[in-house]
C-alpha cells in the first residue's frame, strides 16, 4: 500500500507543478534583467533580481491608469451586480407576484443563449445611448445577470418564511425586512456573488475591447493585449505586466476560495 501512496503523492506534485509552473516562471522572469530570458537554455531563476521591469512598466506605459480603470470598473460592476441581482433573486425566492415562476423559468432557458449573440445589437444600443467609449458602456452587461439572480434565489429559498411573516405582523415594511432580516442571512452568497462579479469584470476582455476606443480608458487585459503585440520581444516587461494583472485576482481567490467554489458548484447544477 505504501507504493500506492507514494505514487499518488508524486502524481499530485507533478500535476501541481503543471498548474503553477507557468505562474512561478512568470514571477521569476518578471524580476530578470531586461533581455535575460531571451537565452537558450531559458534561465529559471534570475541571476540578479531587479525591479527594473516594474519601474519601466509604470513609468513608460500608463499601467497605473489601466490598473485604476480595471479596479474601478470591477468595483462598480460588483456593486451593481450585488444590488440588482440580490433584490431580484430574493423576490423570486420569497415574494409573491404574478407570473413569478413563469418569468423565472423563462430566465433559466435564456441561459443557453451565448452572450456573443447579443453583442452586436448591444453595441448599437450603447451607441444610441451615448455609452460607446465610456465606463457606463463597459458596465451595462454586468448590471443584472441570470446567473446572479439564480444563485441568490437558490440560497434565499432557505430563509424561513415564518421569520419574514413575523416581521410583517410586527408592521415592518418589505424594505426594512430586506435590510434587517434578509441581507444578513444572505451573507455567504453575497460574498460568492461579489467574488464572481469582481473576477468576471476584472478578466473580461471581448466587451471592453469592443466598447472602449480611447487608449486612456483601457482595462488591464485590453492594455496588456495591446502591449504584448508591440513588445513581443520584451519577455521580462510583459511578465511584469502579467504579474500586475494576475496578482489581485490570485490574492482575492486564495482569500475567498471557499465562497467562489460554492458558487461554482451551485452554478454547475443549473443545467
Amino acid at each position: 500500500m505504501r507504493k500506492g501512496a507514494l505514487l499518488t503523492n508524486i502524481l499530485m506534485v507533478l500535476l501541481g507543478l503543471f498548474a503553477v509552473a507557468p505562474l512561478l516562471w512568470m514571477l521569476s522572469v518578471s524580476v530578470m534583467q531586461p533581455g535575460e530570458a531571451a537565452h537558450f537554455p531559458p534561465p529559471l531563476i534570475p541571476a540578479n533580481p531587479t525591479t527594473a521591469n516594474y519601474v519601466t512598466l509604470f513609468a513608460s506605459t500608463d499601467m497605473a491608469r489601466y490598473f485604476a480603470n480595471s479596479l474601478l470598473l470591477a468595483c462598480l460592476a460588483t456593486a451593481l451586480s450585488l444590488t440588482f441581482n440580490v433584490m431580484a433573486g430574493y423576490a423570486f425566492a420569497k415574494l409573491n407576484f404574478r407570473g413569478r415562476d413563469r418569468i423565472f423559468r423563462f430566465l433559466l432557458t435564456a441561459l443557453v443563449i451565448p452572450a456573443q449573440v447579443a453583442m452586436i445589437p448591444l453595441f448599437l444600443i450603447c451607441k444610441e445611448l451615448g455609452l460607446v467609449n465610456s465606463f457606463g458602456g463597459v458596465l451595462v452587461p454586468s448590471i443584472a445577470t441570470v446567473f446572479g439572480i439564480f444563485l441568490v434565489r437558490q440560497y434565499a429559498l432557505a430563509i424561513p418564511d415564518e421569520m419574514l411573516e413575523a416581521a410583517r405582523i410586527d408592521g415592518a415594511s418589505e424594505f426594512r425586512i430586506f435590510r434587517v432580516i434578509v441581507l444578513p442571512s444572505l451573507g455567504p452568497i453575497l460574498v460568492t456573488l461579489a467574488t464572481f462579479s469582481f473576477l468576471g469584470s476584472w478578466s473580461d476582455f471581448l466587451w471592453p475591447l469592443i466598447i472602449l476606443n480611447d487608449g486612456d480608458k483601457a482595462t488591464l487585459p485590453v492594455a496588456l493585449a495591446n502591449l504584448s503585440r508591440e513588445h513581443v520581444q520584451d519577455f521580462e516587461l510583459m511578465m511584469a505586466g502579467s504579474v500586475v494583472t494576475l496578482l489581485p485576482v490570485l490574492i482575492l481567490f486564495v482569500v475567498l476560495q471557499r465562497y467562489y467554489i460554492s458558487g461554482l458548484l451551485a452554478g454547475s447544477v443549473k443545467g
Partner: protein, 417 residues
C-alpha cells in the same frame, strides 16, 4: 467608500485646467512614434494649440478608425492610408479641404506628385493632403543581370521577360529570376495599373478583370510560375528576403521604399554594390506604379478644424518634410523637398522620384481592399496552375461584382459618393 474615493480621483485626474485648444491626432506605427518630435516646434509657433498624439499599431489602425467612427469617437484629425480615403469619404467622415487649400499659399498642389495628390480626390473634391508617399518598384541584382548579359534594368515587358529567362538559365533550377509573394496582391495590382483599361468599370460598379489589358497582366503574372521564373511561394515561406536576395535566390523583387533602409542595413557593406532600384517596366515602355502612402485628414465632426489645418500646413512645409524623411526614411510627397541633399544624393531613392511621376491611384472605391484580397486569392490559384487565365479573370469579376453589389445599390439610390 473606496469606490467613491477612487471615482473621485479618476474624475479629478481627467480634467486638467486648460484654456488651450487640444487637438487629438491619431497616427500609425513608426510615424506615430516620430511625429512627437515634430510637434514641439509647432506648439511653440502656436501657443494656443496643444497636440495630443495617440499612436495606433499599423495592423489595428483601420479597425480602430472604423470602430471610432461607429462609436462617434473619432479624433480631430488623423494619418490615413490614402487608399482608405474613399472609404471614409463614403462614410461621410472626412471634411473637404479644397477651400482651405485654395486659401493658403503654404500648400501648392502643383508641387505634389500628381498621382499621389489625386488619390485624395474623390468625386472631384479633396479630402486629404499627402504626408508621405510610397510606391512599389523594382529592386534588382545588378551583378547577376550583368552576368546574364545586360547592363541596364528592363524598360518594357519584352525586355524584362528576356532578362528573366537569361537569369534563369544562369542561376539554374534551384534558383529563380524573380519573386512575387503569392500572399500579397501588390505586384499583380501594379501590373494591372499599367493597362489602358481600369480594373473596375462603370464608375466602380463592376469588376473589369476580363478586359484585354488585365488578362495580359494576368498572363504575364502566371507565366512567371509556369516557366519557373518565380518560385511558388508566399512571404511566409521566405522569411528573410534580404538573405535570399543576397544569395541570388531571386534577382527581381517588387517592393516599397522602406526596403531601401532594410537592404542598406542587412546586407554587408561589401555587397552594397550588387543591388539597385529601377522603375517598374510597363508593357511598352516605362511603367506606372501605385500611388500609396499616407495623407493627413480632418474629420468632419471635429470642432477644431481650423487648428488642425494649421498643423497640416506645418507638416506640409518642405523643411518639415525633410526633417520627417531624416527621422523615418519616408519619402516626401512634395517635389521641392526632394531637392534636399539627403534625397538627391541617395542613389537608391532616385528611381522612386522617377517612378512617382508615373504613380496612379488604385480604384477609388471603399471596397478596393477586399476586392484586391479576392483577386490575390484567385491569382494564387492560377499561379498554382489550377485555373487558366480566362477562368481566373472570370472568377475575379464574379467576386468583385458580388462585393460591389451594395455599392451599386447605393449608387442607384443616390446615397453613395
Amino acid at each position: 467608500m473606496g469606490v467613491l474615493a477612487l471615482a473621485g480621483f479618476l474624475l479629478a485626474s481627467c480634467s486638467p485646467p486648460s484654456t488651450k485648444t487640444t487637438l487629438n491626432l491619431w497616427a500609425m506605427g513608426r510615424e506615430g512614434e516620430v511625429i512627437g518630435q515634430l510637434i514641439p516646434a509647432f506648439e511653440k509657433e502656436n501657443p494656443g494649440i496643444e497636440v495630443r498624439v495617440q499612436q495606433l499599431p499599423f495592423t489595428a489602425a483601420h479597425e480602430k478608425l472604423l470602430t471610432a467612427f461607429a462609436g462617434d469617437a473619432l479624433p480631430d484629425m488623423a494619418q490615413l492610408g490614402n487608399s482608405w480615403v474613399p472609404e471614409f469619404v463614403a462614410l461621410g467622415a472626412l471634411a473637404p479641404l479644397d477651400a482651405r487649400v485654395a486659401a493658403t499659399p503654404a500648400i501648392d498642389r502643383t508641387d505634389y506628385f500628381p498621382g499621389v495628390w489625386d488619390s485624395n480626390v474623390v468625386a472631384g473634391a479633396l479630402y486629404g493632403v499627402p504626408w508621405y508617399v510610397d510606391t512599389r518598384l523594382l529592386f534588382y541584382r545588378r551583378d547577376l543581370l550583368k552576368q546574364a548579359g545586360y547592363d541596364h534594368p528592363p524598360r518594357d515587358w519584352a525586355e524584362w521577360r528576356a532578362q528573366m529567362h537569361a537569369i534563369k538559365k544562369l542561376v539554374g533550377p534551384q534558383r529563380y529570376a524573380t519573386y512575387f509573394p503569392l500572399n500579397e496582391y501588390e505586384a499583380l495590382v501594379v501590373l494591372g495599373l499599367n493597362q489602358p483599361q481600369e480594373m473596375l468599370r462603370d464608375g466602380g460598379r463592376f469588376g473589369n478583370f476580363r478586359s484585354p489589358g488585365f488578362k495580359a497582366a494576368l498572363t504575364f503574372y502566371s507565366e512567371m510560375t509556369r516557366d519557373k521564373l518565380a518560385p511558388i511561394a508566399s512571404s511566409t515561406d521566405i522569411s528573410n528576403v534580404w538573405d535570399e536576395f543576397d544569395r541570388g535566390f531571386f534577382s527581381f523583387y517588387i517592393s516599397g521604399p522602406w526596403q531601401i533602409g532594410e537592404f542598406k542595413r542587412r546586407l554587408p557593406a561589401s555587397r552594397q554594390g550588387i543591388w539597385m532600384t529601377a522603375p517598374v517596366p510597363g508593357p511598352d515602355g516605362p511603367g506606372s506604379s501605385n500611388a500609396g502612402g499616407s495623407s493627413l485628414v480632418l474629420f468632419k465632426a471635429s470642432t477644431k478644424q481650423a487648428a488642425g489645418w494649421k498643423l497640416i500646413e506645418y507638416l506640409s512645409r518642405p523643411a518639415t518634410q525633410i526633417r520627417f524623411h531624416a527621422l523615418t526614411g519616408d519619402l516626401p510627397p512634395r517635389r521641392s523637398a526632394w531637392a534636399a541633399p539627403s534625397l538627391r544624393e541617395d542613389r537608391y531613392a532616385r528611381a522612386f522620384a522617377d517612378q512617382l511621376l508615373r504613380a496612379k491611384p488604385t480604384p477609388k472605391v471603399p471596397e478596393w481592399e477586399r476586392i484586391a484580397t479576392e483577386v490575390r486569392l484567385v491569382a494564387e490559384a492560377a499561379a498554382h496552375g489550377r485555373m487558366t487565365v480566362d477562368q481566373a479573370a472570370t472568377e475575379m469579376d464574379k467576386r468583385a461584382d458580388a462585393i460591389l453589389a451594395k455599392r451599386r445599390w447605393m449608387l442607384d439610390q443616390g446615397t453613395a459618393k
